[in-house]
């Protein structure tokens, strides 16, 4: 009964800091309409819907039902999945499970967030344990800053290295009309921007965004009838470390290491650096662009900065990372992971327009969540042989 599954269409909003012109359902509708148009399907073709966001950002706790005017889900099977920062990636994995199980042929996946509607830092704090962590800790940035400090102490990186990643992603965003922030910055500008939490400057981190993304997955029974260039899902995975902020090995993203190893083993990928052609990394701040590619196995521990400085991850380089401009340019949280997935799919399908990387055989998209958990998807041009 198990089926191979592929992405056959994607759609996104033009992401902005505020969308005062639309409500949540209307925002969702924009992404869904574009995905249906991209796949040349209608709502009648959709067998089930998975939707996700982070409840506390909008304070609406029945989004699966509330969103049907936007998602087209009236009297269809709709499920909501929410996993904090990784939500967008987890809903893609959930959609894959539905299709790959053989239970549903065509599944619509929707991630969205209107971060302008509440206190983002306050709502993000709900992703930490109330008894042990939340009294002491607030917001999202300080945990990331602690990771960067630990990495710097271990491997001797500098804030210039981090800034180089930010310069890359912000430059890439110029090619993406959907990105929120589209302004090139220099290394000096990143380093001169206000210090938020040492060593993270304002221009090292993501903004908050209103936006939505939709992806349509189909089984091998119909994928190639819908599009000549389906984006086949080669593997998905996720790992959680244990429960509290202090449990992580600061300076290493162990959940990424474990997830990547599992997926690459399954797909027979032995040299990820050479076999993967593009990565859409859920990278909420610059240093993650150095640290987490080491955990993914692209380069050995401590070699991330050197690889970034070589230009290998820039457009035109050996392994471009975040052609979309990444999370630093745009972060509607419940959509963010799904945007990574959609952008990776567009690269495989040859639909990435001004940000297209040539000849993409394999792409990777990831999701990241506050207390150091990871989701990951391996995409491919060919149908997997398993």
């Amino acid at each position: 009964m198990a089926k191979r599954a592929a992405i056959v269409g994607t759609g996104q909003t033009f992401h902005k800091s505020h969308r005062p012109d639309v409500n949540g359902q209307e925002l969702i509708n924009e992404a869904v309409s574009r995905a249906l148009l991209d796949a040349n399907l209608t709502m009648k073709d959709i067998d089930a819907i998975i939707i996700g966001n982070m409840d506390h950002f909008e304070g609406i706790n029945y989004v699966d039902c509330w969103s049907v005017d936007g998602s087209g889900g009236t009297m269809k099977p709709v499920m909501k999945i929410t996993t904090g920062g990784t939500t967008g990636c987890t809903i893609a994995i959930g959609g894959y499970h539905l299709v790959a199980s053989g239970m549903f042929d065509k599944v619509l996946i929707v991630g969205w967030e209107k971060n302008s509607e509440s206190d983002t830092s306050g709502a993000i704090t709900t992703a930490f344990d109330p008894i042990w962590d939340r009294l002491v800790f607030a917001g999202a940035i300080s945990g990331l800053a602690a990771e960067a400090q630990a990495y710097i102490a271990r491997y001797g990186a500098t804030d210039r290295d981090g800034a180089r990643v930010s310069v890359r992603d912000r430059k890439h965003a110029l090619n993406n009309p959907h990105a929120q922030l589209r302004k090139e910055v220099s290394l000096e500008e990143v380093l001169a921007s206000p210090m938020l939490a040492d060593p993270i400057h304002l221009l090292d981190v993501c903004p908050r965004t209103d936006g939505a993304c939709a992806v349509i997955m189909a089984s091998e029974d119909s994928a190639e009838k819908i599009t000549k260039t389906p984006d086949w899902i080669w593997g998905t995975g996720n790992r959680h470390p244990y429960a509290y902020l202090g449990d992580a090995d600061y300076g290493r993203l162990t959940s990424m290491e474990r997830t990547a190893k599992e997926i690459f083993k399954k797909a027979g990928i032995k040299e990820p650096r050479k076999e993967i052609n593009v990565i859409e990394l859920y990278q909420p701040y610059s240093f993650a662009g150095i640290i987490w590619i080491e955990d993914m196995g692209i380069v050995p521990p401590g070699k991330g900065a050197e690889y970034i400085w070589s230009g290998a991850t820039d457009m035109g380089g050996e392994l471009p990372i975040n052609p979309s401009g990444g999370v630093i340019s745009c972060n509607p949280i419940g959509a963010t992971g799904l945007i990574r997935c959609a952008e990776a799919a567009m690269q495989v399908m040859g639909k990435a327009e001004g940000r297209q990387v040539p000849d993409v055989n394999h792409a990777v998209s990831t999701g990241f969540g506050g207390c150091w958990w990871t989701d990951m998807i391996l995409h491919g041009k060919k149908k997997p042989n398993y």
Partner: protein, 153 residues
Amino acid sequence: MSNVFKGVEPLVVKSKISVPYHWWAGETASAFFIKLRDEQKISGTWCAACKKLFLPPRKTCPLCFSAQIEWKTVQPVGTVTAFTVVRRQLAAMPRKAPVIYAMIKIDGTETGLLHILDEVKPGDVKIGMRVEAKFAEVRKATIFDIEYFRPAR
């Protein structure tokens, strides 16, 4: 920013609800906080199978899921494994910025305890630095019964 509103009359509905929470600390955390409040002692849970001591304590071993755990008291001294200096004030922060957040690995334990450093200048904090707990004068059975950590004397 302002062009976002061009041509739009942004009608907004303001929330009239607030949803206050209270969380029961639970059996394991309560045992820890009562000992901290009454005896000024820090304790963790030991998994005999994994031979690891966990702080914060847990009802089951997070690695092997064994419920055969044993409480052990540790000395209130440890090492900074990660830190940051938060420069911007957020409403939910427990004190005025700049605040030094640190992960502190208490001697003999497997995992870090998140807390605040004080009696040290932000520029002088180093990973690997030895620190000790300063217990609060008035204790209410929360993590702030340790008022903060400071350089070990």
